[in-house]
């Protein structure tokens, strides 16, 4: 294929956004997101992308500006990471509550202090409950494809919610790797022009973001939640269309060699490819291990996850964020979610929970082998979770 190129993932992500004919990009630079927005600024400056690039003075204003753009009927994009995502936190709720279909890329990075610019999921996990659709890319091709899919999902009138595409900072965002690029015409066939469900228009005045008291707030939340739950099915439709057009198949939950697995690893994001390699090596050594990867984190595809993990004796979960003070015997949000999913199941796997890879601490094949070794050893977790690679005296 002539469209297969070696390209930095951040650049590819920006190219995908450009192919989507966005109208407004508003962004504030933060490592490791910078290459994405720099390239978008390039595309606009060179006239390759007919959009307004608003170089805002903070991430808070970036997310606010894309809200304004979206409410005016434009297709809007922003990108951030870490502290920037934390600064956006307040407004993330408003984007989803006002049902504005913006798309954001997050180059996942640890949150201060100590200040640390490397990958983990401490930035995105606290945004879990902001009402966004949250997708996680495993590799450059996924990050690229997900951008295009994200706009279609967000703008679907059954959904009308913001979508966040997560890619690991540096380990994915700054990687040069082969990506099969799409043509503009192809993308236009897949992604129809935006049709705003409603907009700020002097010819049809409406008030967006009113004061809602006790008598309506609950109903507003219900409306929003039903749309978020609905997005799981709509995403599946979109992925089927995408496969039909581009030949690449996506699912909310991906299983690998789980058929007869005694222990199943659960991962998210770019470490999943390393995990797959580790699974292959362990299989070669006769260990019955498989891998389940969560691509869609919100809405949580509970039924798919339950089915994917059914039959495993042990589920070994890798969380790349510590939930401080741990609730209910878990160390991180993914472990917590899995325990909840299996609470009512007639047969429950043992859930072995590991927190690792904080602040860019290396996660390699040895890491996964150690997780599986500990999980299979059968002993109860000494603590409520294992902080795998912490140095002790």
């Amino acid at each position: 294929m002539s469209n297969r190129v070696g390209i930095e993932v951040s650049i590819a992500v920006a190219e995908a956004v450009g192919l989507c004919d966005v109208d407004v990009v508003a962004a504030y630079p933060i490592t490791p997101q910078t290459h994405i927005v720099e390239h978008l600024a390039d595309l606009v400056a060179e006239g390759k992308l007919d959009a307004e690039y608003i170089a805002v003075e903070s991430e808070h204003s970036a997310i606010s500006a894309v809200m304004g753009a979206s409410a005016t009927g434009g297709r809007a994009f922003t990108a951030t990471a870490s502290q920037g995502l934390a600064l956006m936190h307040e407004i993330l709720f408003a984007v989803s509550s006002l049902r504005l279909p913006v798309v954001m890329a997050v180059a996942n990075r640890a949150v201060s202090a100590p200040i640390n610019i490397w990958a983990d999921l401490s930035d995105v996990m606290p945004q879990r409950d902001t009402g966004w659709v949250q997708l996680f890319a495993e590799n450059g091709q996924e990050a690229y494809d997900l951008m295009v899919q994200a706009f279609r999902l967000a703008e679907d009138h059954r959904v009308l919610l913001p979508v966040m595409v997560n890619l690991d900072g540096f380990t994915l965002s700054h990687m040069i790797e082969p990506i099969t690029m799409m043509e503009r015409d192809e993308v236009r066939r897949f992604l129809p022009p935006i049709e705003p469900a409603r907009l700020l228009d002097p010819d049809h005045p409406r008030s967006i973001g009113p004061f809602g008291a006790q008598d309506v707030y609950t109903e507003a939340k219900m409306q929003q939640e039903m749309a978020l739950l609905r997005s799981e099915g709509v995403m599946e439709e979109i992925w089927q269309d995408f496969e039909a057009q581009f030949g690449r198949r996506y699912r909310a939950v991906e299983s690998y060699r789980t058929g007869d697995a005694e222990v199943v690893l659960v991962t998210m994001g770019a470490v999943s490819e390393t995990a797959r390699a580790a699974v292959d090596e362990m299989r070669d050594q006769g260990i019955a291990v498989g891998l389940v990867r969560i691509r869609m984190w919100r809405p949580l595809p509970q039924e798919q996850l339950r089915q994917a993990l059914e039959g495993a004796k042990v589920v070994a979960v890798l969380d790349r964020m510590l939930t401080p003070g741990g609730t209910g015997g878990t160390g991180g949000p993914v472990g917590e979610a899995l325990r909840s999913i299996f609470y009512d199941a007639p047969v429950r796997p043992r859930i072995y929970e590991v927190v690792a890879g904080l602040g860019g601490r290396e996660i390699n094949r040895r890491t996964f082998k150690e997780i599986v070794r500990q999980a299979l050893a059968g002993q109860e977790q000494v603590r409520q979770f294992t902080l795998l690679d912490v140095r002790c005296a």
């Binding site: 109208d23 407004v24 508003a26 007919d50 959009a51 307004e52 608003i54 170089a55 805002v56 003075e57 903070s58 808070h60 204003s61 970036a62 606010s64 500006a65 894309v66 809200m67 304004g68 753009a69 979206s70 409410a71 005016t72 009927g73 434009g74 809007a76 307040e90 407004i91 408003a94 006002l98 700020l200 228009d201 002097p202 010819d203 049809h204 005045p205 409406r206 008030s207 967006i208 973001g209 009113p210 004061f211 809602g212 008291a213 309506v216």
Partner: protein
């Protein structure tokens, strides 16, 4: 394409019939802020998009399922109206260029109170002014956080009482000067800047209209008395706002492309004590306090005269 903003000078004879706000809003009796907003909107007309910061004006005009607004209106949060408005501006430009805007020319109106402008919204305002989007910003300054119950803001004047600068033995009222918001905005070198008050309704409307006609950012600072927070009788709202101007505590002026233009000097300038003594929030002031404030007022006005005297 037809221009969004009418260019005719507004007088009682040419008063626009248009109202962007319906009755039934929930503002306090005698609210000077909602009056200022009503007048500003009359001047702007119907080809506008309003982006509002959180505050009294947001709460009292949109009690779900009712809205007072007859023009498109959006509210997101307290500190980000200027950023939301920047996004609206970006989208209007892009969509117009791509032929996807159905209607005619549209003006963006961003508004906030003194808290939403000179405190929590200062950063997003500064960013929007610096980037030079095409919008008119209306700051309705009632000199405290009235929506939450009269707490001190950076716009609260020296000595004034609020619930967070109470009249203590050690610290009677606000100890610090009012932030020079207009001066800060001026330093962004925007094409149009003006001060106004609803006591001079036609001056206010014409300034709003002039500001909205320039391309790029315009900023209208409106002193809007709050009878509840200023502790004044509701019927005296206009009288007190007028005294602010007549005593030179709040001079009316414009800055057009950097040139200061001072409003016509009043015939007889009144002592600032007349303005202050009309308000319960200043009732504790001693003669010494009044003299000190008079001196500040005189110095500020002299500086303004000097600025206006420059070619």
């Amino acid at each position: 394409m037809e221009a969004a903003i009418d260019t005719q000078k507004i007088s009682m004879k040419s008063l626009p019939a248009f109202e962007a706000l319906a009755s039934g809003h929930r503002a306090c009796q005698g609210c000077g802020e909602v009056l200022a907003m009503r007048l500003a909107m009359k001047a702007l007309g119907e080809r506008i998009i309003v982006v509002s910061a959180t505050g009294c004006m947001e709460v009292i005009t949109t009690p779900y399922p009712q809205t007072s607004w007859l023009v498109p209106w959006m509210h997101v949060a307290f500190e980000n109206a200027s950023a939301v408005g920047s996004g609206v501006a970006g989208a209007l430009l892009a969509l117009a260029r791509k032929g996807r805007l159905a209607g005619g020319d549209t003006k963006i109106v961003i508004m906030g109170g003194d808290g939403g402008t000179s405190d929590i919204g200062m950063q997003s305002l500064s960013g929007a002014l610096e980037r030079g989007h095409d919008f008119v910003y209306l700051c309705f300054d009632n000199e405290a956080y009235m929506n939450t119950g009269i707490q001190r803001s950076s716009a609260t004047p020296r000595c004034a009482w609020t619930t967070t600068c109470p009249l203590g033995e050690e610290q009677p009222g606000k100890q610090e000067a009012k932030k020079d918001l207009v001066g800060i905005v001026e330093k962004h070198h925007i094409p149009y800047l003006a001060t106004a008050t609803p006591a001079y309704p036609f001056d206010l409307m014409n300034k709003v209209r002039r500001g909205a006609q320039v391309k790029g950012p315009a900023f209208i600072h409106v002193l809007a008395p709050c009878p509840t927070g200023w502790r004044i009788p509701t019927h005296e709202v206009i009288k007190v706002a007028r005294l602010a101007v007549q005593t030179r505590d709040y001079p009316l002026y414009e800055v057009v492309n950097g040139k200061y233009i001072l409003g016509k000097p009043g015939k007889n300038v009144k002592p600032v004590a007349e303005y202050l003594k009309a308000q319960g929030r200043f009732k504790h002031l001693s003669e010494n306090d009044l003299a000190a404030i008079q001196q500040e007022v005189d110095e500020r006005f002299a500086q303004l005269q000097w600025l206006a005297s420059r070619p």
